[in-house]
């Protein structure tokens, strides 16, 4: 095992996937010579050359659309969109083209493309470089969405996404890029993580927190705090947002009877709303209290430090939500 950072795990996944399959190639802005704005693609141009690593002009719609066309022509493109905020410029290609090609062409083929993009705040990057827009994509039939919360998952989910025959949006978290974790030294030992399956990060009896991305660590901290008071909280890392592991959440709820959903994205109309609505339906008889949600307030993500700190969810807010559910 070697301890590596989240961003290096992304880099390693790209490296291993490109070694394994010559049809995998990378396309994005400043990903080649510069190694990517966050260095996710460092050294890949040197290793694989300019015919596998394409530095594009600032043309997000074309990046996403070219990935669709290349995928329909036998390749496995992995596109990078520098900040999730810029995926607004790729929407037609993802929503109207990538997501629908398989279904609308009657299953003749599929679009095996990946689009990697970082979301999230904590860098004082302001309203146009911090947003968590994953719910938009999870809302579109035909797309898959994953959101790794640690280095091992960043590796495993990206490998699975690249193998997947359908379009997958891999949402990374900027604030987690420096997070450290273990990855096996032998390439064969590095595992893929099945898309659609969540993971119990911490088992507990009294309440369940379902989280993903940066909120997972926040939920763990909240659980640790409450453990001191004898409240035993289970934390689930969803890992995959579309499809999401409904069975795992329901099973957990049927043991803990209390549910909180936490994410960094704006609370209203978010992933948490979907999970809460499903559990209020199929898990109604299991519930002992209200399902509560933790997310960002309904405002653009602000720039200044005091404002951004107040805006982002944290362990205290998850703790407060747990208390409300358990009250």
């Amino acid at each position: 095992m070697t301890e590596i950072r989240y961003i290096k795990a992304v880099n390693q996944a790209l490296w291993d996937a490109m070694e394994a399959d010559p049809s995998v190639f990378l396309i994005g802005e400043d990903i080649g010579a510069a190694g990517g704005s966050f260095k996710a693609t460092r050294d890949l141009l040197d290793r694989f050359g300019p015919e596998r690593v394409y530095d594009t002009p600032i043309s997000e719609a074309a990046i996403a659309g070219m990935a669709v066309g290349a995928a329909l022509t036998g390749m496995r493109p992995v596109a990078e969109i520098m900040f999730m905020d810029f995926t607004t410029l790729t929407m037609d290609m993802l929503v109207n083209q990538a997501a629908k090609a398989r279904s609308m062409f009657g299953g003749q083929g599929s679009v095996p493309m990946v689009l990697r993009t970082p979301h999230g705040g904590g860098l004082n990057a302001g309203p146009q470089h911090s947003q968590c827009l994953e719910a938009w994509f999870a809302h579109v039939p035909g797309l898959k969405v994953v959101c790794p919360a640690n280095p091992a998952d960043a590796y495993g989910l990206l490998r699975a996404a690249i193998d997947d025959p359908d379009p997958v949006i891999v949402v990374e978290n900027k604030a987690l890029y420096a997070m450290k974790g273990d990855l096996p030294d032998a390439p064969e030992a590095r595992e893929r993580i099945e898309i659609g399956k969540g993971r119990i990060v911490r088992p507990g009896h009294d309440a369940t927190v379902v989280a993903y991305g940066a909120a997972v660590t926040m939920a763990e901290a909240a659980a640790a705090n409450l453990a001191g008071e004898g409240i035993d909280v289970e934390v689930i890392d969803l890992r995959s947002l579309q499809p999401w592991d409904e069975g795992l959440v329901l099973e957990s709820l049927s043991r803990t009877h209390n549910l909180v959903v936490a994410h960094e994205a704006v609370e209203a109309f978010g992933i948490g709303a979907e999970i809460a609505a499903r559990m209020a339906d199929i898990g109604f008889d299991e519930l002992d209290g209200p399902i509560t949600r933790v997310g960002a307030p309904f405002a653009p993500s602000p720039f200044g430090k005091t404002l951004e700190d107040a805006y982002r969810p944290n362990a205290e807010r998850i703790e407060a939500a747990l208390r409300r559910t358990l009250a």
Partner: protein
């Protein structure tokens, strides 16, 4: 052009014309669900361009895509069945007129989003270049798409990266109900110059001219990948969609269409090249029979089952 070649191209054009005339009737009878954009008057463009392409070359198209699709050699019955929304359609009745595709023929889809075929085809051309098999990609788009931002992104990237792509603009002077000169402050020739791209303009209603220009532009691309633009001046005879009464067009323009009819021009060229009088009648009889059989089969085909609504949204997991 040899007589046999010209006769073959004529046949392909007539197939598109007759297929669309049949669709026009079916639409009037209420048999075609949804919108129907006919390409009557534009048949020489896809037939000419396709004469330079193989099955392994890829094309993508727009909302007015019947000609592009048929010229790529897709199955005629599957085509009719798709437009009628039948389970036996090329896309199992999920796409319809604006989304017909046949990936086995390199037809990557008609498209309901103006300009969307451009980046898809540019990406397909990138794949061809990486695969080094000498295949090329061609994208059909209208003059209306010239105003879409993504067109400019694609011209730029195709040139920067020397991609084997033919940009085929069908300039019929109209974008829905608006004339091109109210939509565009420049023209495609100038855009081509701006991107230092090979550009040719042809009378898109003269099949020999389209075929010759397409052949000249596509041939070299196979060995030395590079983009090129083929602008085809052509004519939209019907309304933007079936049911459009076209009262925004003046009578003079409509009256002039007949003289530029690509089928008529091709028939005249055939006669000039020495075709026997019964050759054209023979082709027409064959095409009519083929269309009739395909349309009848499509009409008789079953509708998709509502239970299949979730099928093909995602690729099933391998078992």
């Amino acid at each position: 052009m040899k007589l046999t070649e010209l006769a073959d191209l004529y046949r392909r054009m007539l197939l598109i014309r007759r297929a669309e005339e049949r669709l026009q009737k079916l639409f009037a009878d209420g048999q075609v669900p949804g919108f129907l954009h006919l390409s009557i008057g534009q048949e020489a463009v896809p037939v000419g361009v396709s004469s330079a392409l193989s099955d392994r070359d890829t094309v993508s198209s727009n909302h007015r895509g019947h000609g592009h699709t048929l010229a790529k050699g897709v199955d005629l019955t599957g085509f009719f069945a798709e437009i009628l929304g039948k389970a036996t359609g090329l896309c199992k009745g999920r796409g319809g007129s604006m989304h017909v595709a046949d990936l086995s023929k390199g037809m990557l889809g008609a498209n309901g989003i103006v300009g969307a075929g451009l980046p898809i085809t540019t990406g397909s051309a990138l794949a061809h270049k990486m695969q080094r098999q000498g295949h090329v990609a061609a994208v059909y788009f209208g003059d209306g798409a010239l105003a879409e931002g993504v067109l400019h992104e694609c011209l730029n990237i195709a040139k920067l990266w020397s991609l084997p792509i033919l940009f085929v603009c069908e300039n019929n002077g109209w974008s829905e109900f608006s004339p091109t000169d109210r939509q565009l402050a420049t023209n495609l020739e100038k855009l081509g110059k701006a991107f230092a791209m090979k550009y040719r303009s042809v009378d898109g209603n003269v099949i020999a001219d389209v075929a010759a220009a397409a052949g000249k532009l596509v041939g070299p691309m196979r060995r030395y990948p590079a983009p090129a633009i083929l602008e085809c001046r052509t004519t939209r005879v019907r309304g933007h969609y079936e049911g459009d009464r076209q009262d925004y067009r003046d009578a003079g323009e409509i009256a002039a269409l007949e003289a530029r009819d690509p089928i008529r021009l091709a028939a005249e060229a055939l006669a000039e090249a020495g075709a026997a009088p019964d050759l054209i009648a023979g082709i027409a009889a064959e095409v009519d029979a083929e269309i009739e059989a395909a349309a009848e089969a499509a009409l008789a085909a079953p509708l998709p089952k509502s239970a299949d609504i979730l099928a093909d949204v995602y690729t099933p997991a391998e078992v």
